[in-house]
Subunit: 346 residues, 3 copies
């Protein structure tokens, strides 16, 4: 089994909407198949669900999640706010109910609008309390946070370092609240991309062994020549930028976005072929007793080997949970080699 | 009365120049009207005034400032240097004289060329000493700093955090000295914009409740087809970039720059209309007893409400000090609604 | 004699290659003349030398370096890895042998793949132990590090601050390992430039009095219209960007790169003429007893004087070690003025 943590897609779904089936979008996320299935499904009882439907959203989550054998991870987003005690109290109750009633079915909770390190520690303590209260082992319920205040950005390094030894799992960017917190303004050509923050998010997550996830892209549709259609280009540009700087995954608001983010954050067939080939050649050379190993003009040492292995382990992790995705992307022979190649460095 | 701190424009004026009226530019700043009037006027006895005129500059400031009922804030810039004891000693004397003689008429002092946190603390202690010596209440004289050394940039987070509980009011960027300190070079296409620093300045100021102000733009004039004219485009580009990333204001060296920075950092009529409208609709829905409030398709909670309120509070603050600016920007009806709408979230 | 530390060029040379003369590239670096001679020559027994040739590389370095009177500095790169104890043990042995056998001929060692501050301190302690063991004065053997892990980037400020009072001399960027550590991906348009990291490298190095050096550029050759030729444009673009943001030098992999980096990081004749002229005029005005000094419309104080002096000191430092470079760049009269002008601020 792969021990590689995967979150190519962080798909939020409103946990309740004012429709006949209030759980329409949650259900749709839980039932998604193929490339529409996200690695993480985030039933959202925070900003994606109207205030008067939040209770319904929590009930929907508690009722529906255990009924599905969702292959990815389940991370409900609860309410919180480092400057809002009432929100924190609601978040505390939501976490307690989620752990108490479906603790076996969730991988962790997503806590938004955190402030400085002490607020993140406070959120972590709430999760720890719920675990203890309901008899779960310490650390069995994860915590991921949305970085969307100037205070969390200011303490990002300290938060990530704390996270290296804690239940903290992912650092997720929240650009809308962040821009409002800084007083950023759209003067007609959109909001800043916050390159400094994104680079720091990628770096601090890597340095502490956490996952890093980009923010939502809400220009879902675009219009041209009288036709309104899904904005595939806009979202792909953002996701590719996130992959380029080393973020592990992207936020999805919509099944088509999930298809795109799953695809971009997955090794291409060429990448997999290259890295499986290099590991095979390396293993062969080692069996033949060669000391230093030069593969196709590149010296392979433990560090390079680790990079090749990362590719294969990512593919194996996808293959376990979402075999339709790997089977659609790699030919049978390559996939079989990826499944069987020896990944131990000798 | 609005309690929103305003510094759209940080206009420095040499406190003495070698002309018949050595206070020409200082007087001009104090007398400016309409959009030419800066939010902060900074009588400059540091780099803007020649060494042999600095004493005159201090005298001009002490003599002229109390004579005018300047509607904005007065923040003289004194000498300082974390690696220059003589400068610090002169700065100490200048601060002592300013507080002792016109302490009622200045809002604070601007201290340039600060180094690491301990140097900022040292500057703050000098202001505290002057306050105590001359019988002012603790904290009544503010401190703003120019971030223009690698050391201040390195300690920016710690300086801002210290500032959250101190007299520190604004963090201002000083690109010329900063570039020299880092050994940056203009190879023909200008100096870097220091995007990382500016993003951090905006973030750390917001996280600590301070104001953030961009650096001076000294390409005042441009030439084309035989004509030399004011470089309105160049300055507007810089100011708009600063507004976009959430800086509160821009540095002005010249009345026309003040017009532009005042304008860009002021909510547009469309922004004000939109946010007043949303608050009015929200208040109305609340009066009617609606639970969750959906305005024009957007869910309004305390955080969104706060963003709308920010716009209105900014306009009210401008309206108090500079009614000619608000009256020229918004029509009477909108302005009246902005003045009277209820800003308490219920 | 100039006390200005110079590292326009950080040229790595594989210390052993599988050729008849295994020291071909090392020898070539040691013998380079004119603009091909780097300020720092880095005999590389780490990633540039194959695993089965590393021992030869160390022997070549020990044998060859003392035979040449190299005018620049010699900084062998040893093995290391904050997550690789075997590498660290080899690094320790390599440092011990280098200091023990050619400690008089090396200026320091370059330690790659460092992690957080404690790992840098551990590397510094290894150098200190070797110094003590072999009777060298404390601090006589320098330490430079390659910043190429998320952990080193995360602790960059703390590492540089530690460096201000230690043997730490230069912070060098290592983009290839850094990108792999963050999981960055080339999706067809190359790797990120890591602007945030580079700006921080320049800032923290300046704040702590260290040198900052950019990463290697390995697209050595380019192809157009059937011809493959040296990629002078690509490398110059990178070096000029590094100079613009205040890095002190650039990494060179190749003699032609050394020519370019030496040239870009050297004051132009126009810069030298301007700054020598200003110092001469300033000194003259001071001799005549003028108080404040206005040179060509610019007020000159100690800070501005320091910037002019930096230019002259850099040229003097180059002139001492590489007089063919200064003689080729500046005319005799200007160079003589630069050598003789009085640099003491009065």
């Amino acid at each position: 089994m792969s021990n590689r943590r995967l979150c190519r897609t962080f798909q939020t779904a409103p946990a309740a909407v004012p429709k006949d089936d209030t759980a329409k979008y949650l259900r749709s996320g839980l039932e998604a198949e193929g490339f529409r299935a996200p690695d993480w499904l985030v039933p959202d009882v925070e900003d994606g669900t109207a205030p008067d439907m939040k209770d319904d959203g929590l009930e929907n989550t508690i009722e529906l999640v255990p009924r599905y054998d969702f292959a990815g991870e389940i991370w409900p987003r609860v309410e919180w706010g480092d400057e809002n005690e009432a929100s924190r109290e609601r978040g505390r109750e939501q976490i307690d109910r989620l752990v108490g009633e479906i603790g076996d079915d969730v991988d962790g909770v997503v806590v938004p609008k955190v402030g400085r390190l002490d607020d993140v520690e406070r959120a972590a303590a709430v999760v720890a309390d719920a675990e203890a209260e309901h008899g779960y082992a310490d650390g069995s319920i994860g915590l991921s946070i949305i970085v969307e205040t100037g205070r969390a950005r200011s303490d990002l390094r300290e938060i990530a370092t704390f996270g290296a030894d804690s239940r903290l799992t992912a650092l997720v960017f929240g650009p809308v609240d962040y821009a409002a917190d800084l007083g950023a303004r759209d003067l007609g050509d959109g909001m800043p991309r916050w390159d400094g923050l994104l680079e720091a998010l990628s770096n601090e997550a890597s340095a502490a062994g956490l996952l890093s996830i980009g923010g939502p892209f809400d220009d879902l549709f675009t219009e041209r020549a009288g036709l309104t259609y899904y904005n595939a280009d806009g979202y792909a540009d953002q996701v590719e930028h996130e992959a380029r700087i080393g973020l592990d995954g992207s936020w999805s608001l919509y099944p088509k976005q999930t298809i795109q983010a799953n695809t971009v954050h997955m090794p291409t067939a060429a990448e997999l072929e290259r890295d499986v080939h290099k590991i095979e050649r390396f293993n062969e050379a080692k069996r033949e007793g060669t000391g230093a190993v030069n593969i196709d003009g590149q010296m392979v040492d433990e560090a390079t080997f680790k990079n090749f292995r990362n590719t294969v382990e990512t593919v194996r992790a996808i293959d376990e949970g979402r075999p339709t995705q790997t089977e659609a992307t790699y030919d049978d022979d390559l996939l079989e080699r990826a499944r069987s190649v020896d990944l131990v460095f000798r």
